[in-house]
């Protein structure tokens, strides 16, 4: 289980690093607001250590940066200088000649108390300067997290935006034949490592979503043949039903402050949107139609809610105020639109679109304008945003395949990547940046 003690990380800027850091003068930068970015050539050397951890951490850092599509780690075989002391300036000429615009050096040591100490420096080879240097202490079993944190620091230094590598994804792990598919909630690091199941396979479980503020997930389970929304504490495994509703509750999501769960309640043939305040336990009805209203998602400031409704005949995306007033349809393209998810930056809504027998993932502005399709195929569904709003994850079932798999794609529609999982996987939900 995830434990707070495991994820406690002491983060300290090294004195020397602060002294030499001069990011304002560094020339290495990536303008990620352009469409197809030319990835930045970067040399990531093996961190010095007396065991395997140094090279392993370097490999995870390189894999994170490469997968972002913004960096092109250079093959180690091309390296000329062998770094002997990561605290001394490298021979910049040796790195410029292999076209490394940025260089990462580092060291991993074991402290007397058993903790791991990892330090790294990021160099601008053409300016001949250090851009940043940081060190971290953690328990040895957390070495992958340290690597992700270092990758986030490099990403932030060079792109100017927050990273998203030190994050997790909760999803539905699927196994067995389609007619008797078993589903379990599972959690993993964003790169597909450290997969752990959270529920057993007895009950159908669907649509897990992270709390923005706690180690908590809300999801739907068919436990006791009574499909409804639950909360799951990740640290203790404790579960509880959300509310006492007279029908199926489904499609849950947290409010941005983590204090409410918003969801659909089905009664007879209709489904409407409700919230439940987790402290006061009060429930509030937000929509009231003879239709299917579902997939609610708050704007990051909590003032508005995007949702899906077929009140006009086919599923379309609507936006309303947080009190349910001002319900307005925003999607007007061909086909039907489902699963709206508000971007963490607040400016876009991601969706699933069905048109012409195909399923697409796309984004539109919050007034419905500027629709952009990121990927189209036999079946793509259920986008979720990385916490920095640059990358989306979704699930795809290819025609003729045995089950769905998870993919990530850049906001620009480039750099689609398969996230390898031990079994079929669906319903990904990205965590906030870990603390």
């Amino acid at each position: 289980m995830m434990k707070r003690s495991f994820i406690r990380l002491v983060i300290a800027l090294a004195g020397m690093a602060v002294m030499f850091a001069a990011p304002a003068e560094a020339r290495v930068e990536i303008n990620i607001n352009k469409g197809n970015v030319e990835p930045l050539p970067i040399a990531i050397t093996d961190f010095l250590s007396n065991n395997e951890l140094g090279p392993q951490i370097s490999q995870v850092v390189a894999a994170d940066l490469k997968r972002s599509g913004l960096f092109a780690p250079i093959d180690r075989q091309a390296f000329i200088e062998k770094i002997a002391d990561p605290n001394r300036a490298p021979r910049f000429e040796d790195w410029k000649v292999i076209n490394a615009q940025a260089l990462v050096t580092g060291r991993v040591t074991r402290e007397g108390d058993g903790r791991l100490r990892a330090e790294f420096r990021l160099w601008d080879t053409f300016a001949g300067q250090q851009m940043t240097g940081q060190q971290f202490y953690t328990q040895p079993e957390n070495w992958r997290r340290v690597a992700h944190i270092i990758a986030d620091a490099i990403y932030k230094q060079i792109t100017g935006e927050e990273g998203y590598f030190d994050t997790r994804v909760v999803f539905v792990s699927e196994s067995g034949p389609k007619t008797a598919r078993q589903r379990q909630l599972a959690i993993m690091d964003q790169d597909g490592f450290n997969v752990r199941t959270l529920t057993d396979a007895r009950n159908i479980v669907l649509t897990p979503r992270f709390s923005p503020s706690r180690q908590e997930v809300t999801y739907m389970s068919f436990e006791g043949n009574q499909p409804r929304v639950y909360l799951l504490q990740l640290e203790t495994g404790q579960r509880e039903v959300v509310g006492n509703f007279p029908g199926m509750t489904f499609s849950p999501r947290f409010s941005p402050d983590g204090q409410k769960v918003i969801m659909s309640l089905q009664q007879e043939g209709n489904s409407n949107i409700y919230t439940m305040d987790l402290r006061s336990r009060t429930t509030t009805r937000l929509t009231s139609t003879q239709a299917i209203d579902t997939s609610p998602s708050y704007s990051p400031d909590g003032t508005r809610i995007a949702f899906e409704s077929d009140r006009g005949g086919r599923p379309q995306i609507y936006v309303m105020n947080a009190d349910g007033s001002g319900q307005t349809r925003i999607s007007f393209g061909d086909g039907s639109y489902s699963t709206p998810v508000w971007s963490p930056r607040g400016d876009l809504i991601a969706f699933t679109k069905q048109s012409g027998g195909k399923f697409s993932i796309g984004v539109m502005k919050t007034d419905g304008s500027g629709e952009r399709i990121l990927t189209t195929g036999f079946h793509n569904e259920g986008p979720t945003w990385a916490p920095n709003g640059r990358v989306l994850m979704f699930f795809r079932q290819a025609a003729g395949s045995g089950g769905p798999q998870l993919y990530s794609i850049d906001l620009t529609g480039y750099n689609e990547q398969l996230i390898k999982t031990p079994s079929y996987a669906s319903d990904p939900a990205w965590s906030p940046l870990l603390e």
Partner: protein
């Protein structure tokens, strides 16, 4: 899109449903328990009033058009037979399971399955099956019976299944 729940707003239907519900007195505990009653005997040898009799001779499921919960003409015939059978054998409680095909999103299909189950229950109620003998559950697109990537399977998966004795799967 016509919705069967509109039937419930017809006062005559409500009165009929209530009258039957009051007269029904279903004994939910008296469920079949022999192998024959559970449909384990040979086909064609279904004991009248057994699970197998219901599945084979009456038909336990109806099918829907894409994104629709309208009870089709062929489905009405099946549900009419179900209603007659259920009135002849009043000891059974039933669960109507609503299902969707895979060509929709997970959340919408949960709601669509619920809408189909509700429409089926409303129809059965309008044909005299007491409402208090019937429960509904939606499995969305999570429990297909036919697996392929074309309409020959999708049309079988858009269904409502009347399960004797409560939610089974």
């Amino acid at each position: 899109m016509s919705r069967m729940q509109n039937l419930a707003r017809n006062p005559a239907v409500i009165a009929l449903t209530l009258a039957l519900a009051l007269a029904g007195c279903a004994n939910k505990k008296n469920l079949p328990n022999s192998a024959g009653e559970l449909g384990l005997g040979g086909a064609g040898a279904a004991t009248p009033g057994s699970q197998q009799d219901f599945t084979v001779n009456v038909g336990d499921r109806i099918f829907f058009d894409t994104d629709s919960s309208s009870i089709r003409a062929d489905a009405q015939q099946t549900l009419d037979r179900q209603a007659q059978w259920l009135q002849r054998y009043p000891n059974y409680a039933i669960t109507v399971e609503g299902h969707a095909d895979e060509r929709g999103t997970r959340e919408y299909n949960l709601a669509l399955g619920a809408r189909r189950a509700a429409a089926t229950r409303e129809y059965l109620a309008s044909r005299g099956v007491p409402a208090n003998r019937m429960k509904t559950i939606s499995y969305g697109k999570e429990r297909p019976v036919a697996v392929c990537d074309d309409i020959s399977c999708w049309s079988q998966n858009r269904r409502a299944v009347t399960v004797l004795g409560g939610a089974g799967s």
